[in-house]
Each structure stands twice: as C-alpha cells, then as structure tokens.
C-alpha cells in the first residue's frame, strides 16, 4: 500500500531547552564536566606525591588557588546533584522484592544517603585525627 504524504518535524539541536525536564536532564549530564576537572586534580596530586616534597607543596598551593576552590565547590554541588538524581533510580531498576512486596523506595534512597554521609564523616575524621 502506498503511504500517504506525511511530514516529519526534525529535531533542533536546542530540543532540550523546550521543557524543564530536559533542562534538568542536561544539567545532570553536565555534572561530569567539573568531575573531569576534579579527577585531573587528583591525578596531579598522585603524581606530585610520586615526584617529591616540593611537587607536593606546589600541588597543595594549586589546590588552594581561590578559583580552584570555587570550581571544587561546584564539583561538590555537582556530585550531590548527581547523587540526588541517581539514588531514586536504583530501586526502580533493581527492585528488592520480598515475596510479592517491594522494599519502599524511600528506605533505599535514605540508606544510600547514609552511606554518603558515613564515608564523608569517616574520611574527614581520619584526617583530623592525623593532624
């Protein structure tokens, strides 16, 4: 059968600006940009440890640059935003079932935030103890 004439609207490169849901999606995807920067900083830190005390001190000075601190503040916000978008997806993709019942989403999400807090507190506490 011959198909009738039809028209198919093409998508513009700016499709994601058309709805708030898509803007938030793009924001979530963008959280990885500061992450790449932070990972780069951490690679530099490991390499500085490898090179010697002088390199370590200048790496610390680099990390203390106000602009770097500002970007890392942004990175922290990005990682928390990523976590906030990611945690609620976990119980949807991997539902934990006990019989015919599914474990409540809030319990799992809450549990994952607890893990974030525990790891952060433990690491901070460890370095304070070292000082």
């Amino acid at each position: 059968m011959q198909k009738p004439a039809s028209y198919r609207p093409s998508m513009s490169r700016r499709w994601w600006l058309q709805h708030q849901h898509f803007v938030l999606y793009m924001l979530r995807e963008a959280t990885v940009v500061p992450l790449v920067f932070f990972a780069g900083c951490m690679i530099a830190g490991l390499w500085a440890l490898n090179s010697g005390a002088e390199a370590w001190v200048s790496w610390q000075a680099f990390m203390a640059n106000p602009l770097v601190i500002l970007i890392n503040l942004l990175t922290l916000a990005a990682s928390l935003f990523h976590a906030a978008t990611f945690f609620p997806l976990m119980p949807r993709v991997m539902p934990i079932r006990i019989g015919a019942k599914t474990l409540p989403v809030n319990a799992i999400v809450g549990g994952m935030w607890a893990v974030v807090a525990i790891i952060a507190i433990a690491l901070v506490a460890y370095f304070i103890w070292r000082a």
Partner: protein, 244 residues
C-alpha cells in the same frame, strides 16, 4: 457551559498546504471538558475537516495521544481546566504526521513486533486443552504486573529525545513489553527477545532521560524497564561472547 477557551490546533492538510499551520477555535468548557471533548466539539460544531483519532474515551484504547503545549497527553485523560490561556494541540512528536493530529505509527508497531510481545513456550509441560492452564502465584505476577499495564499509546515515544534523534531505537514501550514477558514465569522466550534488545538501537540507545515515565498515563515506568533491560542485555552479550 458559559465559559469558553481559545484553543490552537496544528493543522496539516497536505493537499492544500505543504506546511503545517495553526488554527484557532473558541470552545465552550466546564470542569469536565477533556481535550478530546474539545476536539469533538470542534469537529461537530465548528470545522468538520479536522482529523484526529479516538475510540474508548476512558484511557484504555491508547489512540487519542496528542501534544498539549508540547507535552504528550491522552486527549481523553487531560482536561481543559488544567490549562491557562494557552492550549496548543499538535500531533504526537517524533512520528510522521499524515494529517492534522493523525500520525503514522508503523515504526512503533515494527518495534513492538521486533521484541515478540507474547508468551513463547515450546516446552513439553505447557498447558494443552481447555481444562489445563498455567499456574502463577501472586509473587510471580508482581514481578511483571506494572509493565503489563501498557496500552500502546506511544506517548513515551513522543517524550523520548533518543527516539526523536534516531527512530531506529526500539524505544520505551517495546523494551518494556520485552521485559514484561521476560519476567513472566510462563514465558520461555527470553533468548529470542534478547538479540534485538542487545543491539546498539536496543537498550543501549537509552540515556535514562526518564521523561517517558513522567508522561506515561498508565504509570508503567518504561524507563525502569529499559534499564532493567540493560542488565539483561549485558548478561546476554557476555554469555554470547563466552560461547563464541
């Protein structure tokens, strides 16, 4: 019905005008007037050239999908009272438009067919005859039940930018249906479905935008099903590689 609302409908009449155009209609409404009621009013009272699809008027046939202010909606489940002064109705996004609000859904049907959305069971123990039936416990049914509520309305395809960018992507409803049968203990056809799901245009084209689940009128959560499908496709691909 003293109040009226002005509604813009995107028209496409290829024999008159090569490009789609907007047309205004003034429609009376009250608390219970749905978008579909408004379209019916236009067709019956104002302009009988308007084309659109509908059947059940109760959110079960899945044929009345349209974009309302750019968001995919079932016409019969969406009410004029929910909107302010702007009510723009256009054809479902990402599908070729044949006429006014009527889209060509062939590609959607092809994707549904590709995942074999029916129980496949060639085993010896399958039920035969009239008095013989499958047994399924409530716990076994709970595994897939949510995914079986799909009415094939295609709203999730209109919501999915990945399908908009590449219409070869199997898309939310088809992958959800595959997952629905894969999770059904009566089904033995998972292997037959996994090859289609494990292609680049299968589960891997999904980036978990998640808007499909937001617009789904039946709370199917196709985004969850697609991402469950990624775990299954990963397993299937690995087993395939190990078997050479």
């Amino acid at each position: 019905m003293s109040q009226t609302k002005s509604i813009r409908v995107q028209r496409y009449l290829p024999e008159q005008e090569p490009e789609p155009f907007w047309q205004n209609y003034e429609v009376p409404f009250d608390e219970s007037t749905s978008i579909l009621d408004a379209l019916n009013y236009i067709k019956d009272e104002l302009d009988n050239t308007l084309s659109y699809r509908w059947s059940c008027r109760m959110a079960i046939c899945g044929s009345c999908g349209v974009m309302v202010n750019g968001i995919p909606k079932l016409g019969c489940k969406t009410f004029l009272r929910e909107y302010g002064t702007r009510v723009d109705i256009s054809a479902l996004a990402h599908f070729p438009v044949e006429r006014d609000l009527v889209v060509d859904m062939d590609i959607f049907m092809e994707h549904l067919e590709a995942v074999k959305p029916y129980i496949i069971d060639k085993s010896k123990g399958r039920p035969t005859g009239e008095s013989d039936t499958y047994r399924q416990t409530p716990a076994q049914m709970a595994r897939y039940h949510q995914f079986s509520n799909c009415i094939n309305c295609g709203l999730c395809y209109a919501a999915c930018p990945q399908f908009g960018l590449n219409n070869q992507f199997l898309g939310p409803a088809a992958i959800t249906l595959a997952q629905r049968y894969n999770l059904d203990n009566r089904d033995k056809g998972k292997r037959e479905r996994m090859a289609a799901l494990s292609e680049h245009d299968g589960v891997w084209s999904c980036t978990f935008v998640g808007f499909c689940s937001t617009v789904c009128p039946k709370h199917v959560d196709p985004a969850a099903a697609v991402n469950q499908g990624k775990i299954e496709a990963a397993k299937y691909t690995l087993i395939n590689l190990l078997n050479g």
